[in-house]
Symmetry: C2
Subunit: 499 residues, 2 copies
């Protein structure tokens, strides 16, 4: 089936319910479906939206196109949780059904205002010539889950931006509301973050572009998010077309962050002494991460595991992508960002088994001969070693997801998915590599969810996330090394329950 | 909206997907929705179907009309589980889309044949004059969840039955397959159980009506199920129009069982020395229970919590009903049927707190002042006492689900839902009562799931199930009695997690 523009933007009311029921069954029955991550009920999932805490529950929404693995007419689908781990699907919350969002209820955020969850999102509109218009709209959700859209947009695009003006994050600071937005400057066609202010949610003052870097942030910034960690501002965003000399990255578009010293809202400036941009995730498939400060002050992030303009093997099954697990953000003593699983993730563990250094057999050490498709593996690999950790391996390890590590003077970790199953995203390579501290033990906390891996390195200093689509009977976890007989490691393996 | 016949039987392909998405969101957002029972994704749920064990998983399907709280064009929706407690929704499995099931894929059963799950169901067909025809059809489900219907019916209705001929349960016995079916005899218009036999699933021999009682089983029997417990046959079925002098019951239609001594398949006879029929559930809302023998020999049952020809308050929200929890069936030393929660139900417990006899305050003993909406309460009430246990009570207990008990020489238990919320099914009364053994401690294992109660009495000798639709802030559990100061009891309360 060819996805014409007319089909992709067909109103949901013109699709038939039998097709939707079959698409929902196809997604849930997929052998590649994830079991403890948020996944689309049907069709395509992209950005997390409206990540928030309201009415004693955590809320997250996702961008959904329910009728296929393509970017069509988008809505917000809603889930809620009491622990950031077990999510209840609450279904369609915000559709594209007004003149200010006729071509998609695009990404946005949520915050509690007057005992309601206030949703702010981008209304995507196309005219007859397919010219795009972007409106920043508001809606409220009450305690029963009922969503009511405001009659008119909160913010219209200012003259100095192109039609690429989206992804509002609404923040309360002192006695005012601020919104940061991804934008493209009309003059320079460069990526910017726009800042607006309002005292009453009605009249919005354009504070201009956020001053946070002297570098050119490509041609567009998407999904800007500001959180405060120990009072330090951390800005997370997705620059498109970023020059790799400014910050290296391997994916089609990166999801970057910068740690500031102070965020001056009214001056539209983030003071940054450490100018470096970092990849939020050093793996293959993370984009559009959304982060927010919960009422307890902690900062949490959740990512789209998927990338724009990319095909995935499940496209053939009419569904695509999932969200990452929720990651708690903190700063270590050296001021470096840490991303860690939330506490309740441990509630999913069962059947824990201790992994310890064993005698090698045929040049290999089998950690778990017959692992589940959903598991967590915490593993400490001793310093001064070189080898490969194979996940989801077949019997002879000719197929596996390879983690190549070196923990000596040359210290690095490389994830290689070339032999992990069906090949995809080949233009962007099959490996991702990070440096490690020299001559130190390597601490890995690895989550496998059927077709998804999330690897937390050294307490969350680095995270590598990606998808793989291999043989479902490949369930060996093993270590290989030229020096197998001196490999030293210890750890724990747990089966992880479905949510 | 008036549900005309034309609307109820509109093909799913003529409903629009936006309507379905909104109905799904409405069902999941309902404040009355259950949290640890199987519930409809949207619309109306009725009979459990195809309860089975296949490919290392438990399977159950339910009769679904997805577009409203009415009995319209029915399909089978599928769920699977590894523990009979945590169920994964697998969506639409069997729709009404052939000439042999054009007006509904009605109830049926499943058994493993040749590494596939063989589904046998009633195809409901109406002709232009709305004359009904019932076909007993077959389909197979493979390990990926793909369902393939057989080209032609397995069994056509024989001449001696009316068009009321449905609900096949397929059983393997020695080297042949047998099917028992609910039927209405054409001559007498009385309720019967039909028995068929086949060696090859193609040619079916009509063995006639099952001889298991001399009494008239009303005008129709629905949903017959045969299980073996300790080699004794137990026949579970739903006689409609049963004379209450044969077996008393309070609901519009009962769900009865009879314990036999021996089941002679080829003779179409169940030897029964203890002729008495019993209500499988002594509460308000259980019907169409489906039971089967698992590969381990154990017998499990799951019930529709809902009744035919009945309205429920959630009809206004366009959804209705749920399934019961799975009940393990056994026989006690006296040969009496026991129904008990399965072992894994205990995995849902959290925050257990011990309940013990306390001093009464204002004539009442508060067991839990602020209970959850999802909980289990195990309570032993000592013998020789009279009182009322209030569940989901408001502050002054003017509203509550009342369990009136007497454990002395007059020994009985009565559930009264008159003050438990919105009134419904008023024609059938607000109370259900069972006798208890005299002068014995009363053992209750009570499950509350927001708008559902399941009360297991004395180790499962009796079960009382029902719905209630009260104020969601009514969360007091308390005991009242004229002799409050001598009430003696002990127990445990647990919060029960959502599945």
């Amino acid at each position: 089936m060819e996805w014409t523009r007319a089909m992709r933007y067909l109103p949901y009311s013109e699709w038939d319910a039998e097709t939707l029921l079959k698409l929902q069954a196809q997604a849930t029955n997929s052998s590649y479906q994830v079991g403890y991550h948020i996944r689309p009920t049907s069709g395509l999932l992209n950005d997390p939206n409206g990540f928030s805490y309201y009415n004693n529950k955590w809320h997250v929404f996702y961008q959904s196109y329910p009728f296929g693995a393509v970017h069509g007419l988008k809505s917000w689908m809603h889930l809620e949780s009491t622990d950031l781990v077990h999510w209840q699907d609450k279904g369609l919350a915000l559709g594209a059904d007004t003149k200010y969002d006729s071509h998609g209820a695009y990404s946005g955020s949520a915050t509690v205002i007057d005992n309601q969850l206030f949703l702010m999102y981008t209304g995507n509109v196309r005219d007859q010539d397919w010219q795009r218009y972007s409106y920043q709209n508001g809606a409220t959700m009450d305690e029963t889950g009922k969503v009511t859209k405001l009659d008119a947009p909160l913010i219209f695009a200012p003259d100095h931006v192109t039609e690429h003006f989206r992804d509002p994050q609404i923040l309360k600071h002192r006695d005012a509301y601020y919104v940061i937005l991804g934008a493209q400057d009309k003059q320079t066609l460069s990526g910017k973050i726009s800042l607006f202010k309002s005292k009453n949610l009605k009249n919005w003052e354009d504070l201009g572009y956020l001053d946070f870097t002297d570098d050119l942030m490509g041609y567009m910034i998407e999904c800007p998010n500001l959180v405060f960690i120990d009072e330090q501002p951390v800005l997370i965003f997705c620059p498109q077309g970023l020059d790799k000399s400014i910050a290296p990255y391997d994916n089609i578009y990166p999801n970057m962050y910068v740690i500031g010293d102070k965020f001056k809202f009214d001056a539209a400036r983030m003071e940054v002494s450490q100018k470096q941009l970092f990849n939020l995730d050093d793996g293959f498939d993370v984009y559009a991460t959304q982060a927010f400060n919960a009422p307890d002050g902690k900062a949490y992030a959740i990512s789209w595991v998927g990338l724009p303009d990319m095909s995935y093997p499940t496209d053939d099954e009419n569904w695509a992508n999932c969200l990452s697990q929720v990651k708690e953000l903190s700063l270590d003593a050296k001021g470096r960002l840490l991303q860690r699983p939330v506490k309740a993730m441990a509630d999913l563990r069962s059947d824990g088994q201790v992994i310890k250094t064993d005698k090698p057999v045929n040049g290999r050490q089998i950690l778990v001969a017959d692992a589940d498709r959903n598991y967590e593996l915490k593993l400490t690999i001793k310093k001064d070693q070189v080898g490969t950790l194979h996940l989801v391996g077949n019997t002879d390890l000719s197929e596996s997801l390879q983690i190549n590590f070196a923990t000596g003077n040359q210290a690095s970790l490389e994830v290689n998915r070339a032999q992990a199953g069906k090949q995809f995203a080949s233009d962007y390579g099959f490996t991702r590599k990070i440096d490690l501290p020299k001559n130190e033990d390597l601490e890995l906390d690895i989550f496998i969810d059927n077709s998804l891996f999330e690897i937390f390195v050294n307490g969350g200093l680095k995270v590598l996330t990606g998808r793989f689509f291999g043989n479902l009977t490949n369930n060996q976890i093993a270590l290989t090394s030229k020096q197998t007989d001196k490999l030293a490691y210890r750890g724990t393996y747990w089966r992880i329950n479905h949510i």
